[in-house]
């Protein structure tokens, strides 16, 4: 199939490459594409068309059309005409039921024509309705192009890189290269992006093969470069995307053997392949006619050259046998041929410019659309700007004789001239609507081959001109892009505490809380709560947000942010605080300890740390108070030791007085524990005597190990998040976001003592005053079940058959032996012992309202 070696051919005949097509070995050479090697092996049919399953062969040979889409090593929709051969790859045809030669779905071409006109999916196969499941199964099977392997997962890695360029040149043709080198010579930093294989250019960084996907707002140009997505910001964008050869519309214009001029040039010049035996050329420009040189060089006889500029024929129709071209009839003259080169002129590839904001206008003389009014910093050069030789404006379509073959406007979606005429007859007179109805320009070529011909046909059928029809909106992506590239690398950000590995070693079940990984429990959540009540437990609370707020105005600053008062706190004391927005909504809660006259240590919830810091900084951006806010969340680890033996354990590890007088409830004290500088906070989220130790993160594992070692004889046991949730529920301590929502405020949540409404101002004060004035609509209360059933969180509370509230938390307390929970109820139900009903599993279960903590209601154990 190859003719003798010629100078400047792309292939290296001394380096054969072997790959497999449907399991059969195919030989090619270094420099071949998969497409050229298959062509050399005698293959002419490369695919079956989308709807009619007609045979299709190489047409553009430049990666523009849909005719050579194949599956390469499991990746669907690879354009094999531009994909270089690689040793050992497995190539398969797609969109066929059977083989390329015997595709069972080709019956659609022969018999289903009347049932599959344009828009058929809206009108056929909808009756009888009960058959729809059958139709759907069939349609789902045959629709779409290519198949993804569901089981392969992510087999490739995709990366994103942010880049800058002074000058970004898109397109490496003659004009692009000239622009790049002259900009480089002027001392600019230049990047050139080109679809073809890599080459060197003096002073220019060449990215190839790579494709600019679009031009977005702010001059952002994403470039697809084989697994890497470069997000370019360029000071100047030079678009040199050239022009696209346009096909002609005549019956049989999709037959195997019909080529655009570039295909012939590449087959002959680059790969020394002979396109066929007898050729006819029909062209609207000189470039098309000039391929006669290539054909003669390849030994193909040029039977006829038809120049549309001088003597355009009235009728052209191609005839095929088994999908392959065998003759073309021109004005009644039958010309036998197996090769037909068609050229309808070249349309500037303006799409990227239109995306950037250029206006597109029609030039009647050459019959092309040209970009105009380019935005600043964007430049068009070369063919895309209209620098090209004159050409004839071809007829919108050529007719043949009766019984002619189909005439395709869009070969991607198999839309014929009849379909377009029918759409117009049905009233789809706007090009944008017609596009969506007929799907012309919506296939893999994205309008490269069908946009202008369809506009021309539209103009003729609507008896107007192309300028009046106009173009459809150009949108990214201009080049096909794999979704993996857009998705980038698979990231699942997770935060771990410095004690994380100790939890894993102890066999903890880990869970997500926001971005944190935390132990759910180590063995049995219920038993872990019992060891806190009976002996001592330890939990890693390093995830708490930890801030230092410091400065002469620290106290007034916090008093403006929180409903609480802090200025009156003694040094070394702690107060529970709740943050509210100006709408009165509870945002976060935590403890505020006064470490110095002007220094406060603020803790936040685990998931609220970032929000709280941003909130603090935001308000201070307005107030400009003299405070510094320092985030120590990651710098400090924290553990909570809780239970009757907690004091004994702490006493063994520190020299300070740990008696109730030495460190009383809500005291904050700096001390060395196990030789590590710690801030000891005596607080009791879980309801037992407890100490929170905050210390530098690197000591995490050491402190954890030391506590477990020295507490072994006291029965110490680590406990996870789930037991902590049971323990806090026994104390009716709220969890922000679990027990509160966007309507919750501190008054109705049962914490009126927090809001110091006598303060002049604080964020949320006015909303709370409003709540107080309007009266409560609902209140947060505790409840216990009478029958021990744990109701679902979010479960409905009913009273006399009507909704009266909702459950926010519910657990079985092993210590109390009862099912307990918290709920929002109507104010009249917020009374100790009030009977409520909760919907559980379709029925209702009885419960009683509790206003005081279930465990240690007076806080004696907490303060002991």
């Amino acid at each position: 199939m190859r003719f003798p070696e010629q100078p400047n051919e792309r292939i290296d005949r001394s380096r054969p490459v072997r790959f497999f097509f449907h399991g059969r070995a195919v030989e090619g050479f270094e420099g071949d594409t998969i497409g050229s090697a298959l062509f050399a092996s005698g293959r002419r049919v490369f695919s079956r068309s989308f709807k009619y399953h007609r045979r299709r062969g190489l047409l553009c040979c430049s990666g523009g059309c849909p005719n050579c889409l194949m599956r390469v090593d499991g990746v669907p929709n690879v354009r094999v005409c531009v994909e270089p051969v690689r040793e050992g790859i497995q190539v398969r045809a797609q969109n066929v039921l059977g083989s390329l030669e015997r595709d069972l779905l080709a019956v659609v071409d022969h018999f289903a024509g009347p049932f599959t006109p344009v828009g058929f999916y809206y009108r056929t196969m909808i009756r009888p309705r009960r058959f729809w499941p059958l139709y759907e199964t069939f349609l789902r099977h045959v629709a779409g192009l290519g198949r993804l392997d569901k089981h392969v997962g992510r087999s490739r890695r995709f990366d994103t890189e942010h880049r800058r360029a002074e000058v970004l040149v898109i397109g490496g043709g003659r004009s692009g290269r000239e622009a790049a080198t002259s900009a480089a010579a002027a001392g600019r930093q230049v990047v050139l992006v080109d679809e073809r294989s890599a080459f060197d250019l003096d002073g220019v960084e060449v990215l190839a093969p790579a494709r600019a996907i679009g031009i977005y707002e702010g001059g952002l140009v994403p470039v697809d470069a084989d697994g890497v997505l470069y997000r370019f910001r360029a000071e100047r964008i030079v678009v040199a995307t050239g022009a696209l050869e346009q096909p002609l519309l005549f019956p049989g214009n999709d037959l195997v053997g019909v080529y655009l001029p570039a295909a012939v040039r590449r087959l002959v010049d680059e790969w020394s392949l002979k396109p066929g035996e007898r050729a006819v050329i029909v062209s609207a420009d000189e470039r098309g006619l000039a391929v006669a040189d290539q054909l003669e060089r390849a030994g193909t006889r040029v039977v006829e050259r038809i120049d549309l500029r001088s003597a355009p024929p009235r009728r052209i129709a191609a005839r095929g046998r088994r999908g392959r071209l065998c003759a073309v009839a021109v004005d009644g003259r039958e010309l036998e041929c197996d090769t037909l080169v068609m050229s309808g002129g070249r349309q500037p590839a303006y799409s990227l410019l239109a995306q950037a904001g250029a206006r597109i206008e029609y030039e009647f003389e050459r019959g092309i659309f040209l970009p105009a009014d380019l935005p600043p910093n964007v430049e068009a050069i070369g063919s895309v700007a209209g620098e090209q030789e004159p050409a004839a404006v071809p007829a919108a379509s050529f007719d043949g004789a009766d019984g002619q073959d189909r005439c395709f406007v869009c070969i991607c979606e198999d839309v014929t001239d009849k379909d377009v005429k029918r759409a117009i007859a049905e009233g789809f007179d706007s090009i944008e609507l017609a596009k969506r109805y007929t799907t012309v320009t919506m296939g893999p070529c994205q309008g490269r081959l069908c946009h202008v011909p369809s506009i021309r046909l539209y103009a003729r059928e609507n008896e107007t001109d192309e300028a009046a029809i106009g173009t459809t909106t150009a949108r990214p992506p201009w080049a096909p892009v794999s979704l993996g590239l857009l998705a980038g690398r698979g990231h699942e950000p997770a935060k771990r505490t410095s004690i994380h590995h100790r939890h894993k070693e102890a066999g903890a079940t880990m869970m997500w809380t926001g971005v944190w990984r935390r132990p759910h429990s180590y063995s049995h959540a219920g038993n872990e709560t019992l060891s806190v009540h009976e002996a001592v437990g330890v939990i890693d609370v390093s995830t708490l947000g930890k801030l230092v707020v410091q400065g002469p105005e620290a106290a007034p600053f916090l008093e403006l942010l929180y409903p609480n008062r802090f200025g009156d706190m003694k040094l070394g004391r702690i107060r529970y605080g709740v943050l509210e927005s100006d709408a009165g909504r509870i945002m976060d809660d935590g403890t505020i300890g006064r470490l110095g006259e002007d220094q406060y240590y603020v803790t936040t919830t685990s998931t609220g740390a970032d929000t709280v810091i941003e909130w603090f900084e935001w308000w201070n951006a307005v107030w400009g108070m003299e405070v510094e806010i320092v985030n120590l969340t990651g710098a400090l680890a924290a553990v909570n030791i809780a239970g009757p033996h907690a004091r004994e354990l702490l006493g063994r590890l520190t020299d300070v007085d740990v008696s109730n007088e030495g460190i009383s409830y809500l005291d904050a004290k700096e001390a060395f524990v196990a030789g590590v500088p710690c801030l000891i906070l005596r607080i009791g989220f879980v309801g037992e005597l407890g100490y929170e130790l905050h210390f530098p993160s690197p000591y995490g594992e050491y402190v954890w190990d030391t506590l477990l070692e020295h507490g072994a004889d006291l029965g110490i046991r680590p406990f996870g998040l789930e037991p902590q949730r049971i323990l806090r529920l026994e104390k009716m301590h709220i969890l922000v976001g679990q027990d509160t929502d966007s309507e919750s405020n501190v008054l109705e949540a049962g914490m009126p003592w927090i809001a110091k409404l006598d303060k002049d101002d604080f964020v949320g004060k006015w909303a709370l005053e409003h709540v107080q004035a309007r009266g409560f609509r609902e209140q947060l209360v505790g409840f216990e079940m009478t029958n021990g059933v744990v109701p679902p969180e979010g479960g409905q509370i009913v009273l006399g058959g009507r909704s009266a509230g909702r459950v926010t938390s519910a657990r079985l307390s092993p210590h109390l032996g009862r099912a307990i929970g918290m709920a929002w109820v109507r104010p009249e139900l917020a009374q100790e012992g009030a009977e409520i009903e909760i919907k559980v599993d379709g029925g209702v279960a009885n419960a009683r309202v509790r206003l005081k903590p279930f465990f240690d209601p007076e806080g004696e154990r907490l303060r002991s």
């Binding site: 942010h162 977005y216 707002e217 702010g218 952002l220 997000r231 910001r233 927005s581 100006d582 709408a583 909504r585 941003e614 909130w615 900084e617 935001w618 308000w619 951006a621 307005v622 107030w623 400009g624 966007s742 964020v763 006015w766 909303a767 005053e769 409003h770």
Partner: protein
Amino acid sequence: MSFLLPCPNCGPRDVNEFAYAGEVTHRPRITPSQRELSSYVYFRRNVAGVQREWWYHRFGCELWFLAERDTRTNEVLKTELPLRDEAEAPTTQ
């Protein structure tokens, strides 16, 4: 959105580095009526045109600043630090 936003500290940066926090609101200086409170907390002008709005350089220098941006074109006319006496409050709900 892929426009560039000039951070007063860092200069023009990709908008994805920032958190948008809504148009500026004006916090009442004295106890507001219920209507004034609702208007401050819940109501926004939502202009099609130049809007004064809050931005936070979340993946950068962590600065809160104000921008004047045309919401129709994403053209940023200027960015600046808050004028502290204007009581332009965080957008709070």
